[in-house]
Every structure is written in structure tokens, then in C-alpha cells.
Amino acid sequence: MNHGAIGKYALWRRRLGRERELWFWSGLCIIWWVIFFLIPIYGIVYSFFNYTPGRALTWDRFVGLKNFISFFQSRDAWKIIRNTLVISGLNMTVGFMAPIILALQLDELRHGLFKKTVQTISYMPYFVSWVVVASLAIALLNSDGVVNEVIIKLGLSDKAIPFLTEGKYFWGLITVLNIWKTVGWSTILYMSAIAGIDQNLYEAGAVDGINRWGMVRYITLPSIMPTIVLLFILSIGNFLNLGYEQNLLLGQSTTREYWEIIDTYVYRYGIQLGRYSFSIAIGLMKSIIGIALVFIANGIARKYTQYSIM
């Protein structure tokens, strides 16, 4: 009567025996997953409490949405949101177009060795750290740096331009540096899209008598448009992840009004000032909007192109 059950049990046991070793290794992976991924997520609940390290989390410390509300009531809130939107917006427009233009330019080169050299040079800044890029920027752009030296020598300005210490230059500075660091690297996907264009199109174009500029305008650019659209949509998902390393390294206390973004604010309040619950609440808001943006971007990509990231 119990044959079926025993059979099932024996089957399971045999299966488990066969998979025993794999369960052991994946068990180790799962332990790591629980410790370094799952448990930190639980930390999000601190944002609804008034948390102090070392004290038990009891219900009388529950404050509901107070931490979230006090962020929006603070004077900083709107400036931080503004800075985040402006810098990210600049990255998504100017910063997005730069590698497309560079890829088109590289493709038009007749000389293979020159093209390779420019590509190699342009990838390089991607591999140095932000600390190095910030050091370069500070060394070259400060009041006695080489840039100001040349500007004064050429008579473009009679005194050094305070690129680093005056807030109004910060958005421009950070956008230029973001482009400087990533423009070459970001051409790779465009270059591989360009490599896939059917050569007959260019031949047909030549027969129709269009010139070089026309080839770029009417053949190359339309051919890589799907790649451009896809990468643009996917960049929506990263809209709030604009990178905080560069802002922390280049921002000075005098220019804070222009460089403080959500991530650096979370760092300052959480780690430097120890207001854990408050900063977790801000980080959580950012993550929720971020995940929503990823889903929206992915949805659009799936609908209008045949690709998706999930």
C-alpha cells in the first residue's frame, strides 16, 4: 500500500545522494548569498525606526515615515535632487552623444594604424581610477596649473579661472571629466554595430553619387540607430546611478551646493554623521525609483526593440 510513498522517498534519497556533492558546494554559495546579500536587505527596516547601534530594535522606537518626511522638509532636499537631475541629465545628453560622434569619426578613417592608435588612446582613461582622474584635473586646472598658465599667456583672461573652487563651474567640469574618462570605451558597442553594416549600401550610395558626409548622414547613422535607441533606453535605468566617486573627490566644501547628489548625501549623513535611519530612508527612496526606472527601461526596450536586459 505504501509502495508509492516508499518509491518516492527512495527516489529522492537516491537523487540527493547523487547530488550530495553539488549541494555541498552550492550550500557554501547560498551561505555567502544569505550573509552578504540577504541580511543587508533586512537593514532597510531601520529606515522606519529610530535606530541606534547596540540598542535593540523595539516597537517604541518605530517612527513610521518620519525619516522620509524630514528629508523632504530639509533645506537640502531640493538642491540635492536638482544636482542629481542636472548632472545625470548632462550625462544622458552631451555624455551620450559624444561616443556616437567619436565612433562615426573613427569609422571614417582610411588609415588602419591611425585608427587603432586613436582607439587605444581613447580607451585608456577608462582603466585608471577616479582618484587618478581627479588628481589630473586638480593638477592641471588649479590656479597655478598648466591650463590657467596657458590661458593667461594667451591673454584669454588676466587672472586664473577658479575651475575647481567656484560652484558655477562644477557641472561643466564633472560632465567634461565623465566624457573624458568614458568616451572611448563607450564607442565599442557602436563600433561593432557599424562593423555589421552591409557594405553594399555604401556601394549603392556611391552609385547614387552621395558624398562622404552623405554616407554618414544617410547610411551609417540610420544603420546604427537601433543600437543608439537601445543604449539610450537602457541608460534610463541608470539615471540615478551617476557615480559619486568623482563628486566626492572633486567637490570642495565651498562648492557643495552644486555637487552634493543623493549618493554623497547618504554617505555624509550615514557614515560621517552617523544618522543611520535617516540616510537609509534616503537610500531606499533612491533604490525604489532606480528599480522602477530599470523596469520601465526594460519594458520600453522589450516593446520597441527585440532586446531586453532581464
Binding site: 554559495c29 552578504f36 543587508p40 536587505i41 578613417l109 582618484v131 556611391a206 537609509i280
Partner: protein
């Protein structure tokens, strides 16, 4: 590369080429010159460099800045931690993530799909900077070397790339090894690892560069500075001017040779030399590994 031979050479085409090439030469200059400028400042006498006017070639050549940096104890230790972090971090991550990737491709294992999904989630969700920080404090990982490699031991992105590579290998190889009674770990060591060398090389370079370049985690997890790497030293020189003074004071207790060198060092030349020490390893290995870098991003791009 595009064959444009069938296009007639016209005057407008020539102008197009001239404009294009000059713009690219200008861009290359803008990308390279900052490094060159700092290289010559690092090779120039510190006090002399303060006079300005150094554009393309050192005026008073010296290796004193480098000599000085390598004589201060802090920098050598920082270099040691940097190298150790790169070696430990890269090898453990590749080995462990490779094993994870292999398990997710073993089709008879009843949990392989779920395991893969568990790790894919980690690409989209995380506890966030502060919850992770608080948890690291509780785990007593603050002020340790372990915090550099253990929390990033298993990577979902690397797992996907290695798994897709393993999946492209003939299954019969693993099956016959299993028939012969080989343990899964043996199969991983003796079959998977040797066959995955290309993908491990591509990812390894990426992971190594990431470890070499990282500084933010050092700043928050090891604030005492006991495990500072070169990036962190450079960042300290950049942000805190008192750090430079301290390093310069270190030299006043050294030998006479060090003392006389210290008199000619400025924070500008010190920063330039440190920056070069941080950058040169990357620039030196980069041309050889460029194809792996490019391969790395291309593998990642076709995952959709």
C-alpha cells in the same frame, strides 16, 4: 574596417578627411597630455617645477621624487597592500565564481536554475550603502583585510559570462568524466578551469583593475588607514594637505640623503609621482590586455 575605395576622391572628401583627422588628433592630445604633463612634473625637480612653464619636457631632470616616495615607509606598505589585494581578490573571486557558474550549468542538479536566479537578483537589488556598512560592523569585518575580497567574492555578472562559456563546451566531456566516477570538484579543477582560460583571462583583467582602482570601500571600511592602498594614499595627498606634511616630516628623521631630497620635494611633485606609480602598472599591462578588455564588454553585451 570599412573599405571606402569605391568612393571617388573629391576635394570635399579631402576636406572631410582633414577635419576629421585633426579633430581626432586633438582628442588624442587631450586624452594623453594630462598624463604626460604629470609624468614630466614627477621627473622634474620639485622646487623648480613650482616656477611653472613645464609643458613637454622636464627642465631639471631628477628621479628624486620617486626615490623619496619609495623611502617613506607608508608608500611601500601601501604598494604591498595594493598588490596583495589585487592577487587575493582576483584569484578568490575567479575561483569561487567559476565554481558557482559551473554548478549552475550542471543540468542534473535539481537546484541549478534557482541558484542562478538567486544570484541574478543581486544585480538589481542591494541593501544599500548604509545597511551593508552597519552589517559589516556587526560581522567585525571593519578594519580587516578580509573586507576587500570576501563581500565581493561571488559576482553575478561574472557568473553569467563564465556559465555561458561553459554551456558552449561539449557536454559529453563532463558526462564521460562523471561515468568514470570523477567528483564534480575534480571536474571543475581538471576540465572546466583549463578550458575556461580565455574567459578567465578576460574577466580576471577586469576584476584586477577594479581591485587596483578601488578606494571608496577602503575609506569607509578601513578608516584607521592600516590597510591603505596606493589609491588611498593618493587620495589622501589629494584631499588632506596635512597628510603631505606628515609624509614630509617622516623624512626628517631619515638618513641625510633622504633629508636633502625632502628639502626639494613639493606637494605638487609628490602628487605627480604618486599618481604615476598608481597609473604606470595599468598603462603597462593595458596594451597587452586590450583585446581581453574589449572581449569582456562584447561578451557582456550579447547576454540579452
Amino acid at each position: 574596417m570599412k573599405q571606402v575605395n569605391y568612393i571617388k576622391r573629391t576635394p570635399s572628401g579631402t576636406i572631410f578627411d582633414i577635419v576629421n583627422v585633426s579633430l581626432l588628433v586633438a582628442l588624442s592630445f587631450l586624452l594623453l597630455y594630462p598624463f604626460w604633463n604629470q609624468l614630466i612634473i614627477s621627473l622634474n625637480d620639485g622646487l623648480d617645477a613650482q616656477r611653472g612653464g613645464l609643458y613637454f619636457w622636464p627642465r631639471v631632470f631628477t628621479l628624486g621624487n620617486y626615490e623619496y616616495i619609495f623611502k617613506t615607509a607608508g608608500m611601500l606598505r601601501a604598494l604591498g597592500w595594493s598588490v596583495l589585494r589585487v592577487i587575493v581578490g582576483t584569484s578568490t573571486k575567479l575561483f569561487a565564481t567559476g565554481m558557482l557558474a559551473y554548478i549552475t550549468t550542471v543540468s542534473y542538479f535539481s537546484f541549478h536554475r534557482q541558484l542562478r536566479k538567486m544570484f541574478l537578483i543581486t544585480m538589481y537589488i542591494s541593501g544599500g550603502m548604509i545597511p551593508i556598512y552597519l552589517w559589516m560592523i556587526k560581522l567585525h569585518l571593519i578594519e580587516t583585510f578580509t573586507v576587500y575580497w570576501l563581500p565581493s567574492l561571488l559576482g553575478a555578472y561574472e557568473m553569467m559570462i563564465i556559465a555561458s562559456y561553459i554551456a558552449s563546451l561539449p557536454d559529453a566531456m563532463f558526462e564521460s568524466a562523471r561515468m568514470d566516477g570523477a567528483k564534480e570538484f575534480k571536474i571543475y579543477l581538471n576540465i572546466v578551469l583549463p578550458l575556461c582560460v580565455p574567459v578567465f583571462a578576460a574577466l580576471g583583467v577586469m576584476v584586477a583593475v577594479g581591485h587596483w582602482n578601488s578606494w571608496f570601500d577602503i575609506m569607509i571600511y578601513n578608516p584607521s588607514g592600516n590597510y591603505d592602498t596606493l589609491q588611498m594614499e593618493l587620495r589622501n595627498i589629494l584631499i588632506q594637505s596635512d597628510k603631505v606634511k606628515k609624509l614630509m616630516q617622516d623624512a626628517t628623521v631619515g638618513s641625510d640623503a633622504v633629508k636633502s631630497a625632502a628639502a626639494r620635494i613639493t606637494s605638487q611633485s609628490m602628487r605627480a609621482a604618486t599618481m604615476m606609480i598608481v597609473t604606470i602598472p595599468i598603462v603597462a599591462v593595458y596594451p597587452f590586455f586590450q583585446k581581453y578588455f574589449v572581449k569582456g564588454i562584447s561578451i557582456g553585451a550579447v547576454k540579452g
